[in-house]
Symmetry: C2
Subunit: 339 residues, 2 copies
Amino acid sequence: MRIILDVMGADKPVEEFVKGAVSAISEFGCEVTLVGNKAMIQEAITNNRLSTDHLYIVNAPEFITMEDSPMSVVKEKNNSSMHEGLKMLADGKGDAFVSAGNTGALLAGATFVVRRIRGLRAAIGTILPLAKPVLLVDSGANLTVTPENLEQFAKMGSIYMEKLHGINNPTVGLLNNGTEHSKGHELQRETFLRLSVSDSVNFVGNIEGKDIPFAKTDIIVTDGFTGNVVLKLTEGFGKFMIDQLTQLFSANLLGKSSYLMLKRNLKDFKKKFDASEYGGAPLLGISKPVIKAHGSSDAKAVKNAIKQAIYYVNTGIIVEIARQTSQISPKSKETEKQG
Amino acid sequence: MRIILDVMGADKPVEEFVKGAVSAISEFGCEVTLVGNKAMIQEAITNNRLSTDHLYIVNAPEFITMEDSPMSVVKEKNNSSMHEGLKMLADGKGDAFVSAGNTGALLAGATFVVRRIRGLRAAIGTILPLAKPVLLVDSGANLTVTPENLEQFAKMGSIYMEKLHGINNPTVGLLNNGTEHSKGHELQRETFLRLSVSDSVNFVGNIEGKDIPFAKTDIIVTDGFTGNVVLKLTEGFGKFMIDQLTQLFSANLLGKSSYLMLKRNLKDFKKKFDASEYGGAPLLGISKPVIKAHGSSDAKAVKNAIKQAIYYVNTGIIVEIARQTSQISPKSKETEKQG
């Protein structure tokens, strides 16, 4: 299997991506094509004396910054590492594309270069780092959605959790400002009705913010604006919890000696709430595997995003999404290019 | 000072409200009028052998349930404890009204019975239980808002944090899906521009979900839907953190002995994230003090909500809001009845 990895335009330097790729190759037995500034990639290899077995490099003169507009990837920056990588995926020069760059640009690029599955809106499905994995979809791709979109997100998320996390008949909750069906905007009320009569989704009803940390459902469906706030708030709380624990243990001598005693428990605890453990988030609804790694990914997170990409390919999720959603709306299974 | 307390329609029994009121009387030297089912109130007094000094009872034959529609308080249930209490406040038979009942009904009742400050939309301002107090406004009153509403919320929130929490020139952040001014819906982009040129608000820009736990700004401004999700998620994480800590310490013998050593630190830690410590949330923009206590308030939370009501009255926040907002939009300072 060959993974195409965008090494540019994220928070961390190229080095972290090259290191992550080399770890992934040795750990998972895949091939990786690095796309980006060739000189910087080679410098990272030399400086860190990394093995280049199964590692390939494609030079790209430009890259998308976090400030670039989403459409820049298909317009003025169509010679960027992100565009190049997506083009390679579309042309069959790799099995999956992984990028830690600008989310909006990745979504636009995936939509226009790789294309969506017919009839579907693409959404980002992110696993929240909680006591057990919970998929939040959409976690930031679409600020404005329709009830039909949310129903698709529920369906795609269910397939993902079943295929990739082995959860049988996973439960779906609609994020709302109360559990009653009358709660929320028109969007939530209509989506509630749609999901209630859906045969293909195990809908358990509205869920509230307070239910999220306790992983009440396997999948949480929401619009991309609320999803983005929830995802970042959850990540923030993970960091905050670790900070607070550290303070708790450094408060006095008793704390410090307890820390030594509890070191191992604490390590497990931190691992549980570490977003980088889950690697990347798939762009559900895109016709080929595109994985969004966290913007601040380090080598470990890059390696885990590649692992995620490999699983995503191996489980055949995309074929299953195309099959099942073509049953929902009786259209052709082939993919189409949509705006 | 006399506080009017609705003892009905919340999650906990009448007893908790009566106990909370009696504690408040002895601790803060106020008077409390309990509004609700007289027989149940008297039973709670007898069973718990409570002092009735400075305690008054007004019987109300009905109460608003959590399932009742917001308008029920002014329509079919206008003989409910909530309506009765609001009517007493409007008629000057008390200085503030506290209720732990149905939020939507309390907002509708406050708007129609007590009335809003001229030109303002009412919003709920809730203190998030974080390392330091952060005001979230609107935390659930208005699902749909305009940029003008959000500017008002920022202004009212600033006055509240200055007067009640003694924070000089408090900072305001607009909750968004990124820090750039181009982020968000039209609502966030327009609000960003409005707040950027506001003389009366110390606006620091967009803030993201990840900034919330670290209390990046003193005030967070958002619509009531997102605010409700954020508030409940924050409360959920508080509970979750305590649960996880308990697990951490019960994992093995080392954990248990550490727990004994750290008991005091942990107690402080729990207190910091306990929503009931902050009591209630004011309905900012209403022309008289109306405080929403948490639906699951126990006696301690009720007592703290009464404390909050006393502070709210004593600091003259409402007069200051009316004064400063009449400068923003040059209208009369008097109050009006609005729909």
